[in-house]
């Protein structure tokens, strides 16, 4: 084996630093490799290269088409997983994932070496949290869009509000409303600016900052958002795929859905479980939803329909509805988890609602994450908006929201179905309004980016379960089939994001509770 040119390699960052540091140059290229492991990775790459040279067609085909890849940033593990792929007998090439809508792929079950990955996570993500907060991603069509001039005044207005110069802010709102009349508000930045002007105006002038909306109305708008664009569909099928894989080998399973919302996610999972090899498990589904204002029990209604579907598919099924206004109102015993069942927690855009403005003392989220962990779920699927809408300074939040929602609205332009599109826009507008107008406990849309959630969840005793290339491919293919061009799925260190024009807008991840250390013998 040859030696590396030592005089050149002293230029690399590995020479004088402690050996478990991550190579900073490779990190800039998107790869997290410990300096101490570089040599091992190189040796593995070399071995793989030799094997490929000798058996190119067979190995390449298998690694490319059948093997599931995870987290390419963790080069050590990725290369290692490829090596172990062909040390085993090559499985019979079988169905393509396209032909099987129940996403059966049992060739590789995702497992995780907790020692390797826990180290990489804590070491790397403890560091630049401050830097993470300052990421601001902008996609713009620039001066082709006449509404862009409104952005300048909007920003100035937000700045004056932050500085408490409220009468000046009021004047700027009037100016904005005037500018708005001269711009086409039917599309583009003009339309988005209109929503933001309205939100700012409510913040300044309206006494009724937080209207209580009926559950029916919320669910109706949510349903249309689901139909008009792929974000929720992506959330559901990515979470379902991860849950399906986690449930492999378990006969009693219990899914706890943090926001039932008409149960849109669950028919597909029931079907997939029905079709899994070895037969379906006994499935319990607990759906959490807010109290209804009109006495209408939509939780049970939908639960009944799901039960009918399950019966039709020969899946033993029980549904329970749990009513709660907030997740931290729930006592875990209400969920009636049995010790012999495998539990999956499913949280689609719910965890951020538990956050407050205080970054260090977050009792609600800590409380809920603690009882989740105590339930010892085999998987917790988390989908969150990929945005920084909980920053302490109003101006920063406003700026982040402006660009996040302008990209989101832009993606919706590709949808032609009405009235789904208009209602989906209303859904988004309400969310945006909460970010901009509300404060304190009324501001529930406290989105934080994936990088921040990683730190928070790792700190709360969870380790990542990585989403692999099979989930990625499935998401990409479904998008190609059903959605406009411009959507992009990206892999982000074991998580998947869906975005528009290269700007991630929603992030999906999966987690597992870290095993408790053995309790001491004496009590």
């Amino acid at each position: 084996m040859g030696t590396y040119d030592k005089s050149i390699s002293s230029g690399s960052s590995s020479s004088s630093k402690p050996p478990d540091q991550i190579d900073s140059l490779l990190s800039g290229a998107g790869y997290k490799v410990r300096s101490s492991e570089l040599r091992t990775v190189a040796q593995s790459l070399e071995r793989l290269d030799n094997v490929l040279v000798n058996n190119y067609l067979e190995i390449s085909h298998h690694l490319s088409n059948d093997a599931i890849h995870y987290n390419p940033s963790d080069l050590f593990s990725w290369v290692d997983s490829l090596l172990s792929e062909f040390n085993q007998p090559v499985p019979m090439p079988d169905q393509s994932t396209l032909s099987d809508p129940a996403y059966v792929n049992t060739l590789v079950v995702p497992t995780l070496d907790p020692t390797v990955n826990a180290g990489v996570w804590t070491e790397h993500h403890a560091a630049p949290q401050h830097g993470i907060q300052q990421q601001l991603t902008v996609v713009t069509a620039m001066e082709e869009d006449p509404g862009i001039q409104l952005v300048h005044v909007l920003m100035t207005c937000a700045d004056t509000i932050q500085r408490g110069e409220l009468s000046l802010a009021g004047t700027l709102i009037e100016k904005l409303q005037d500018l708005l009349t001269r711009v086409n508000t039917g599309f583009g930045m003009g339309k988005v600016a209109g929503y933001f002007i309205e939100a700012l105006s409510r913040r300044l002038f309206s006494t009724l900052l937080y209207t209580n909306r009926s559950v029916y109305e919320s669910e109706f708008l949510y349903h249309n958002f689901y139909e008009a664009c792929p974000y929720l569909k992506f959330a559901h099928f990515t979470a379902n795929q991860a849950i399906l894989e986690a449930f492999d080998g378990h006969d009693c399973v219990h899914v706890i859905d943090f926001s039932f919302m008409q149960g849109l996610q669950w028919p597909a999972l029931i079907q997939a479980l029905a079709l899994r090899s070895g037969g379906p498990p006994f499935l319990r589904l607990t759906g959490i939803g807010p109290p209804s204002s009109d006495g209408h029990d939509s939780l049970s209604e939908v639960g009944l329909r799901l039960a009918e579907l399950a019966r039709f598919m020969n899946v033993r099924f029980v549904f329970r509805g749990v009513v709660a206004s907030r997740l931290d109102d729930i006592k875990p015993c209400e969920l009636q988890v049995n010790p012999n069942e495998a539990v999956a927690i499913n949280s689609i855009m719910q965890l951020h609602r538990l956050l407050n403005s205080n970054s260090t003392h977050n009792s609600s989220i800590d409380f809920v994450l603690a009882w989740i962990r105590n339930l010892n779920p085999i998987i917790m699927t988390v989908v969150e908006q990929e945005a920084n809408h909980n920053q302490p300074e109003f101006f920063d939040r406003f700026t982040a929201a402006l660009y996040y929602y302008s990209t989101l609205f832009d993606s919706l332009e590709a949808c032609s179905a009405q009235p789904e599109k208009a209602l989906a826009e209303m859904y988004i507008q309400r969310e945006l309004c909460n970010v901009v107008c509300c404060e304190g406990s009324a501001r529930v849309e406290r989105h934080e980016p994936l990088a921040t959630w990683r730190v928070r969840l790792s700190g709360a005793g969870f380790k990542p379960l990585q989403l692999g290339s099979n989930a990625f491919k499935q998401a990409s293919m479904l998008l190609t089939l059903f959605s406009a061009e411009g959507y992009c799925v990206e892999e982000n260190e074991g998580c998947l994001t869906l975005g528009w024009h290269n700007r991630p807008l929603i992030a999906a991840s999966a987690w597992q509770a870290v095993a408790e250390p053995r309790p001491p013998l004496e009590h």
Binding site: S12, A29, D49, A141, H501
Partner: protein
């Protein structure tokens, strides 16, 4: 492949730092998995494996970036990198397209490499490189997310480059104060270098001023096997076989490697004599198997009376400019800086 694989691997390990070896070998491995013998490409796995970074309008080390939609119809995006205005402090988010304040500001339109099939404007390695170029050239960099092969054959990448050139040329806010014109340079590595040549040709025909071409390890080829290809086949990460695959993926069906897109000074090439063409800085790595084609490109430009400077880096391999851990990197960055500031 010439020589045994073990010998080849040992050769490449001797000439690059360990982390560079790991980086480029990783690409080589991944790319081997993605190319299929029938000419198709595993795009899903390619996108899964690609390491990308989002744009950041907040400055990092004096550079901020944002994405623009150049052509909505084909989904053509570019990433713009600008230096922070030192006097103003942090740029306000409203001032992404604030007019350039200096007398002369070079605007470099950058085409990333990847042999026409791999990478994107938001690839981590190219985001890093473009940020460096901003500092080195004290200018604005526009990185074009051109359409790739094999899904898009010739001339899509050139069309996208042309669209980007026109877009840049018509932005008022990219004009230099001195003469109210946009001072445009074209730059690219590997396939990006090839795109630079073709876009520059078209610019000359159409009267758009390009002040200079910077091509790093440009991707050219031809039907015959050159001495450097035979000698270096498989020795430093690249094989003749993979080059052939990428040309088949990019060139129109039925065309061979003497097509002028691949072989501009070959039997089907056109003469550049008397044609308006920018001065060129051509960087050739001495361990790149394509060097004979690249040197022939330099000769072709010279014979046509075009201004060209060759920078031959004898011990450099492909990708030496991706990590700042070798002398070649610094030499080339200095040359690029001089090339751009000498106008």
């Amino acid at each position: 492949m010439a020589g045994s694989n073990e010998v080849n691997v040992n050769e490449s390990k001797k000439v690059v730092p360990l982390n560079t070896w790991v980086l480029i070998s990783n690409f080589k491995l991944a790319y081997n998995l993605l190319r299929r013998p029938d000419g198709s490409f595993n795009r899903h796995l390619a996108e899964f494996l690609e390491r990308k970074v989002p744009a950041n309008a907040n400055p990092v080390d004096g550079v901020f970036s944002f994405d623009v939609i150049i052509d909505r119809g084909i989904g053509l995006l570019s990433r713009i990198y600008r230096p922070t205005d030192a006097e103003e402090g942090l740029p306000s988010i409203t001032e992404l397209e604030k007019p350039l304040s200096s007398d002369v500001v070079p605007v470099i339109i950058f085409f990333h490499g990847g042999s026409f099939a791999h990478s994107s404007a938001n690839s981590a390695i190219y985001d890093t490189l473009c940020r460096r170029l901003v500092g080195i050239c004290k200018g604005v960099v526009v990185s074009v997310n051109y359409r790739r092969a094999p899904e898009n054959h010739y001339p899509c990448a050139y069309e996208d480059g042309w669209a980007a050139l026109n877009w840049v040329n018509s932005r008022l806010w990219l004009q230099s104060q001195k003469d109210s014109k946009v001072h445009i340079y074209l730059a690219g590595d590997s396939s990006g270098g090839n795109i630079v040549h073709n876009v520059a040709l078209r610019a000359g025909e159409s009267g758009i001023d390009v002040l200079g071409n910077i091509v790093l390890n440009p991707m050219f080829g031809g039907e015959r096997r050159t001495e450097s290809e035979k000698r270096l086949d498989g020795k430093y990460f690249v094989t003749i076989q993979d080059r052939d695959w990428y040309w088949r993926a990019f060139l129109p069906d039925g065309e061979d490697r003497d097509h002028p897109a691949c072989n501009p000074f070959g039997p089907k090439g056109i003469s550049l004599e008397g044609i308006k063409f920018p001065k060129s800085l051509v960087v050739v790595a001495g361990l790149d198997l394509l060097q004979d084609w690249q040197l022939a490109y330099v000769e072709g430009l010279k014979k046509a009376g075009q201004e060209v400077k060759l920078l031959y880096m004898k011990q450099a391999t492909i990708g030496f400019y991706l990590l700042p851990n070798n002398d070649h990197f610094y030499t080339v960055m200095d040359e690029i800086s001089n090339f751009v500031s000498s106008n």
